[in-house]
Symmetry: C2
Subunit: 389 residues, 2 copies
């Protein structure tokens, strides 16, 4: 992928070119609106007030915050990650000799999350073997799903060092090419395509443009791509992170003026337990591209997830609603919207990044048992470090 790292332009045009390449492989996911949630967001809120029912009777004239939800939970493999994976392989395909070699040597990545399934699906589509390094502590359903797409799953420990050893071993043994989960221009440009679609869909549905968009941020591949897709459009871009156990590394890095390179958090938003990479830091730390980062608590993430499941009737994973949680609960973000939106308010794009959860996980999350996992982490064992992606 090194050649691509040098040549792919991190621009809106780069995202547009990526979209042309991957369109045939991905769903044009729907954009949903929801009057109840827009009304809720447009009144001052606390978690307690939101989950009460007093709001049922209210019917504000026109909500000040009008949500446009980009539903990548309805994407293939249940998450936006297929966009980056297909784009990386489509880019490699531009060089027929390399691509032919991949059909023997394969591709490799490390991921316990949606990138694993995304790369497995993309590789299978092109007849390329995929080696996926997953921590032994990964949930059996994710391992099975990745194997279900025909990938060769190889187990490792859960620290980044342990994973790297196994990945390097695979590369030495097979000659496979590493497709990283987020910190690569091809991945960033691929993920950004979701926001090109969102921009067009909102224009079609409402006749006007978005004022802003907010997206979850883990390794920052998707948020970076979203930011690139908005260059020159006048759309403001915001990122959202969980604050739990310092998972808001991007926000803290911006405050410190320096990228934070390690995250050890067991936030329920398990797709976001990752620090920014070099490329994604360069995009996200540029105030012309990303206006601000906001952090939300675990309870706020759960409250947002409950609202989406119970009111919108759509299944999302915890990581997917971190942007919505910021729009509902983060006082700094809400003050900013009120100030900038003025009388007419804002049309706010909100990225739902994925929907890969299980009925058991939903049950655990809302029965309070999830905290037990946190306890295990606090004892220094089974701490998942950078394993998501």
């Amino acid at each position: 992928m090194d050649r691509l790292e040098q040549t792919l332009p991190l621009t809106r045009e780069g995202v547009q070119a990526a979209h042309v390449l991957i369109k045939q492989h991905v769903h044009l996911t729907p954009v949903l609106t929801n009057t109840t949630l827009s009304n809720l967001a447009s009144a001052p809120q606390t978690v307690e007030a939101l989950l009460g029912t007093e709001w049922e009777g209210r019917t504000p004239a026109r909500p000040k915050i009008r949500f446009w939800f980009k539903c990548e939970n309805l994407q293939r493999i249940g998450a936006f990650k297929v966009r980056g994976a297909f784009h990386a392989l489509e880019q490699l395909r531009q060089d027929p000799a390399t691509f032919e070699r991949l059909k023997t040597s394969g591709v490799v990545t490390h991921s316990s999350g949606n990138h694993a399934q995304a790369l497995a699906l993309a590789a299978r589509t092109f007849g390329i073997p995929a080696h996926i390094v997953m921590p032994t502590i990964s949930t059996p359903s994710k391992i099975a799903a990745t194997q279900g797409y025909g990938a060769n799953v190889i187990f490792s420990g859960s620290t980044s060092q342990e994973r790297e050893v196994v990945v390097n071993d695979v590369i030495a043994r097979t000659g496979a090419m590493l497709i990283p989960p987020y910190d690569h221009p091809a991945i960033i440009l691929g993920q950004g395509t979701l926001c090109l679609e969102l921009q067009e869909q909102v224009k079609e549905m409402s006749g006007h443009s978005l004022n802003a968009v907010i997206a979850p941020c883990g390794g920052g591949g998707m948020l970076s791509g979203v930011a690139l897709s908005c260059i020159g459009t006048g759309i403001r871009v915001f990122g959202a992170e969980p604050s739990f156990q310092g998972c808001d590394d991007a926000r803290r890095g911006l405050l410190a003026g320096e990228r934070i390179t390690t995250v050890k958090s067991l936030t329920i938003a398990d797709g976001l337990r990752t620090p920014l990479g070099v490329h994604t830091w360069n995009v996200i730390s540029d105030p012309a591209k990303v206006t601000a980062m906001f952090a939300v608590t675990e309870d706020q993430i759960k409250a947002a997830m409950r609202l989406v499941l119970e009111r919108m009737k759509v299944v999302v994973e915890p990581s997917a609603v971190v942007g919505l949680a910021a729009a509902l609960f983060n006082e700094n973000f809400r003050t900013l919207i009120e100030r900038e939106g003025g009388e007419s308010g804002w049309d706010l794009g909100v990225v739902f990044s994925g929907g890969n959860t299980t009925v058991e996980a939903i049950g655990k999350l809302f029965s309070g048992q999830e905290r037990d996992v946190g306890k295990v982490g606090a004892q220094g064992e089974r701490v998942a470090e950078n394993v998501a992606g």
Copy 2:
């Protein structure tokens, strides 16, 4: 409502007329397709095989069973029940003197379920007071939601006798008009409108007509309406019920040649714990209108619900997936489809009736705790009899 009982025609034209009246009050809910589920249904299945992952790799040419899901879980108040409630009030509105009187005396019904919220919303829309009789054992969230729509909630015991006493007391005290949950022509015709939409939507999306439609059956109001909407179209109509504790009263009644008038079942499909009424029995027992009824187990309902949540990423309540469960698991229905569908297979409309559940209820359902409720029922206490609707 007695006047309406005499005059409303139980025909496809009656459903069409109802649609004209209620269109402005209800959502045109989306029709979704899902390749994964259609592929799953098109291979011989057991619950165990379905929940495995072996199928991931399969890509059959053209599935024999092609599902078209009518998503009434995305309807206002989260269920199809608003259709009947708005239709009943719109019919009463045709007589201005009666309607004016209702604005003082109000309407009344008994329901612990979606009909309660539906009537509360419809009544509020017209400025009519709504009195809703609910069993004291109703879940607090349903009581709060009904009150949230401005209804006056009155508590009763959970047997039909206890409820009737309270309803009659409300009528004596206020002069309110009874709007029954299902066994009335106005309600039946209103519910049937969902299937008119489904027929048109499938034609638009695919260019051809449905072969058949399957819908859940509790009191039978919706299934009856669906059946009326299909008269003369060539579309076969099927109903599905839970078999648990004899909840398949319609199917058993057809076998016995006589309507079964009592159901005491604590099936997880709590919207279907109701026997057929007189009007709905007349429609459903007519083989020219409903071809057959099928029953499914609790485990089959749970398996179908899991698939819809985890694969389609859409939230449904247990009652909503009883039709899908029959299409996936009921051997008689599957044999019939194979025989009738032949080489080209079937386009099968499946009604998702509602999505009113909570994250806690989902958690309970899939942690096995739900069975405890059944035990309480078996001891003869808290048996919910006909309280749904």
